[in-house]
């Protein structure tokens, strides 16, 4: 069986065709952030619905990481309004805000001096949950991200493979049972097989836990395969947003170029690989 790309029809529209709940889980309204002379995020408006899996795609320096970090106030906006569960983030204590939003860092961001269990249990610990409850939660999470409890619980991050570290990173982000998960290129540094498996596993977790997920990636194929909707960023601006099929009718050359890349790669792969082979 060859690679299947979802058929691309439909239109990209300013207003999403599907019914948007009145209150988005995360809402950006005309948000701007500059670092010195550089406009990292330039007048961006974007709503992310409850239960949605949104991928933000763009090259390096496009502002995608800045946009995501504005949501949990790791970075403060210069202008515009950002809401989380309907509430203006400026009215929420940033520390409390971060404790209720899961964040998966690029290469795991695990604390090297803490073992797996302590890394995973850190946010519940900060929230003052009792040690026994945290221990139970850690075991649950290890099972959830499919790591063997007995072998991994007490290991230091340095003793884990890249894929295992990312699984721990996801478990840590989920520890305080957040409704929102922000992921900054979570699978970027992994080998293709691990990456594929982890992506699938995570997509399943997202569904099972009813999460609202925002994932940053520079890989359009990954975005198309995992996300419900894709937002494309370039030079701080939000060029387009929509389902893959909606994006395919975009008038923006860069968006179309990004979208056509996976398909061109498939065509080349199909030409190079024997049909119906191992793939």
């Amino acid at each position: 069986m060859g690679l299947v790309i979802p058929s691309l029809h439909g239109r990209v529209s300013e207003v999403s065709p599907r019914p948007m709940p009145s209150r988005p889980m995360i809402g950006y309204s005309r948000v701007t952030k500059s670092f010195g002379p550089l406009r990292a995020v330039d007048d961006v408006s974007l709503d992310i619905a409850e239960g949605e899996f949104l991928a933000i795609v763009g090259g390096s320096g496009s502002g995608k990481t800045t946009l995501v970090r504005l949501a949990n106030r790791l970075i403060e906006a210069d202008d515009g309004i950002i809401t989380v569960e309907g509430e203006d983030v400026q009215n929420i204590d940033p520390v409390a805000l971060r404790r209720r939003i899961g964040y998966v860092f690029q290469s795991g961001g695990l604390f090297p001096h803490l073992n797996v269990a302590d890394n995973i249990g850190i946010t519940p610990k900060l929230l003052g949950e009792p040690a026994a409850a945290i221990a139970t939660r850690v075991d649950e999470l290890l099972e959830l991200v499919q790591l063997d409890r007995a072998t991994h619980r007490d290991r230091l991050p340095e003793a884990l493979s890249g894929g295992q570290r990312q699984r721990v990173g996801v478990a840590r982000a989920l520890a305080a049972k957040p409704r929102i998960l922000l992921m900054d290129e979570p699978f970027g540094a992994l080998d293709p097989l691990t990456r594929d498996a982890l992506g699938e596993d995570f997509r399943e977790l997202h569904r099972k836990l009813g999460l609202t997920t925002v994932m940053i990636t520079h890989d359009m194929t990954e975005a198309i395969l995992l996300a419900d909707r894709i937002a494309v960023m370039r030079g701080g601006k939000l060029l387009a947003q929509g389902t893959p099929s909606e994006l395919s009718t975009s008038s923006d050359a860069y968006v179309l170029e990004l979208l056509s890349t996976p398909r061109r790669q498939v065509d080349r792969l199909n030409a190079l690989l024997p049909q119906g082979g191992a793939a």
């Binding site: 949990n72 090297p112 850190i122």
Partner: protein, 519 residues
């Protein structure tokens, strides 16, 4: 007698509880103070480049000041501070011993702690600090739970370096009145007691090693998050402090303290005074190796009770007089002047320890030099050596002015080595001391001073203000007054300059008492 069963090892060992205890206490107090100041500074300035640079520059400057000078500087500084607090708040404190030593050593410990602290904290991957924020840590939680644990190995390396430096440098706190393992080294160097020098060096090296290892234990305990390991290290250090406190606790501190400057004659005389006081039923201890500028202040402040000084020294350095008077008149005037400070000049011991220009007898005879005036004609082709203070003393200025002395070179030397240097022709003339036994030993001659450019230096016994009315003390000391003539003192000094067991100040002091006590 072999090197190892030399009785001086036993004598050295008998001082160990006192010297080691004081050394440990002053070092650890200084280190603790240094840490309490430096660690918060390192944390506060880690993200502020300008204050950080200024702080590190200041700490580096402190480090370039030689340890001995830094310690010596704190004494006048604290004297000043004490007089200010006395004036403004009516409270005074002792600027002698523990306090200046601890402050100077604490300052000395700051550079490695600051530098490693800042380096350790700045070396943390910014992504981890971001992650700490991302999982919901406050700035303080991030510091305590992530940054400090990650910076710990580098910080501890700095703390261990500081500990070794402080313990080593603490040996230099002896001259400002803090008893330390340096007492062995200073006394040993002055009396050519190499057993003492070696013992002091070994003891301080072992102490540094032990504290370093205990800190290493604390470090590995903290790193492995093992309360046991960290606890063991901390208990070890606490035990070290406790162990050094026990023997000194039992000691009475109400006795008399006899001061001594940093040369052999002073060691012998302080041992003699101490023995006399003990024989009279007092408890008494010698506090040796005090800097000559520190000792008078220490007496005035009551940190020591008595010591022997020299009339000319006080005349020039304390009364700032440049005129020269006959021996007896000088002592009388001095007595009156000191009484204003409530210091008792009990009397002269009998001998004079003046500076004198000294050269080999054979050479002086060959050149026809008998007086300093004769020397002046030859001086331009000759070199002169003196102790560390001589060339900056008023006597030297007076000599040069009176006789028009102009030497081709002048060198500073450890006093005990000068006599050998002049005897071997290494230098041509030395500024020696009239009571030094080595003058006779090396067949040297002291040149006459017909113009009386050098003031008289009678050895005089001084009592602290708080002992002014202590008649029992005066009675115990009076048998010594006027009893020690120059020949006797020279012989005592010669005995003390040997490097065998019989040259220890205690043994020489007993010999001296047998000699003068019988008269």
């Amino acid at each position: 007698m072999s090197f190892f069963n030399d009785p001086r090892w036993g004598e050295a060992l008998s001082h160990l509880p006192d010297y080691l205890g004081n050394h440990v206490r002053v070092s650890l107090a200084a280190l603790a103070l240094g840490l309490i100041v430096s660690l918060p500074l390192a944390i506060l300035t880690r993200n502020r480049p300008a204050p950080r640079a200024i702080l590190l520059a200041l700490a580096s400057i402190v480090q370039t000041v030689p340890g001995l000078a830094l310690l010596a500087l704190f004494y006048p500084l604290l004297l000043l501070a004490a007089s200010v607090t006395l004036k403004w708040f009516g409270v005074s404190f002792s600027a002698f011993g523990f306090l200046p030593a601890m402050l100077a050593l604490a300052l000395y410990s700051m550079l490695p702690v600051l530098r490693n602290g800042i380096t350790g904290l700045n070396g943390i991957d910014p992504a981890l600090i971001e992650a700490a924020k991302g999982v919901g840590m406050t700035a303080r939680q991030s510091l305590v739970m992530v940054e400090l644990p990650l910076a710990l190995p580098v910080m501890m390396a700095g703390i261990r370096t500081a500990a070794v430096w402080v313990i080593g440098t603490a040996t230099l706190s002896t001259p400002i009145g803090q008893t330390s393992l340096g007492n062995y080294i200073f006394a040993g160097l002055q009396t050519q007691n190499w057993v003492f020098v070696l013992f002091g060096c070994l003891a301080s090296a072992l102490l540094a090693l032990a504290v370093d290892q205990l800190l290493g234990l604390v470090e590995s305990g903290l790193r492995n998050r093992s309360r046991l390991g960290a606890g063991l290290g901390a208990i070890g250090i606490a035990a070290l402090v406790a162990a050094t406190l026990v023997p000194t606790m039992g000691r009475s501190s109400s006795g008399y303290v006899v001061g001594a400057k940093t040369f052999a004659e002073q060691y012998v005389l302080s041992a003699l005074l101490r023995d006399r006081l003990q024989a009279a039923g007092f408890s008494a201890a010698a506090r040796s190796g005090l800097g000559s500028s520190v000792i008078f202040g220490a007496l005035k402040a009551g940190d020591i009770d008595l010591y022997v000084d020299y009339s000319g020294t006080l005349w020039a350095n304390q009364l700032h007089r440049t005129d020269i008077k006959p021996r007896a008149e000088l002592v009388t005037d001095l007595k009156t002047a000191l009484a204003k400070d409530n210091i008792t000049l009990l009397g002269e011991l009998g001998f004079e320890n003046a500076y004198a220009l000294v050269m080999p007898k054979t050479r002086a005879d060959a050149l026809g030099i008998h007086t300093i005036a004769d020397l002046a004609a030859h001086a331009s082709t000759m070199s002169i050596a003196g102790d560390y203070e001589f060339f900056s003393r008023p006597e030297w200025a007076a000599l040069r002015q009176a006789y028009g002395l102009q030497f081709s070179a002048q060198r500073q030397m450890q006093p005990d080595f000068m006599y050998a240097a002049v005897a071997s022709g290494e230098v041509d003339v030395i500024a020696g001391y009239t009571s030094d036994g080595l003058i006779a030993k090396y067949d040297l001659v002291t040149l006459d001073d017909p113009k009386h450019a050098i003031p008289p230096y009678d050895a005089i016994l001084l009592l602290a203000p708080k002992r002014a009315g202590d008649e029992r003390l005066k009675a115990a000391l009076s048998p010594l007054l006027g009893k020690i003539d120059i020949a006797t003192m020279r012989e005592a000094n010669l005995r003390a300059s040997g490097n065998d067991a019989n040259s220890s100040p205690d043994v020489v002091a007993r010999w001296l008492w047998e000699k003068v006590g019988r008269q």
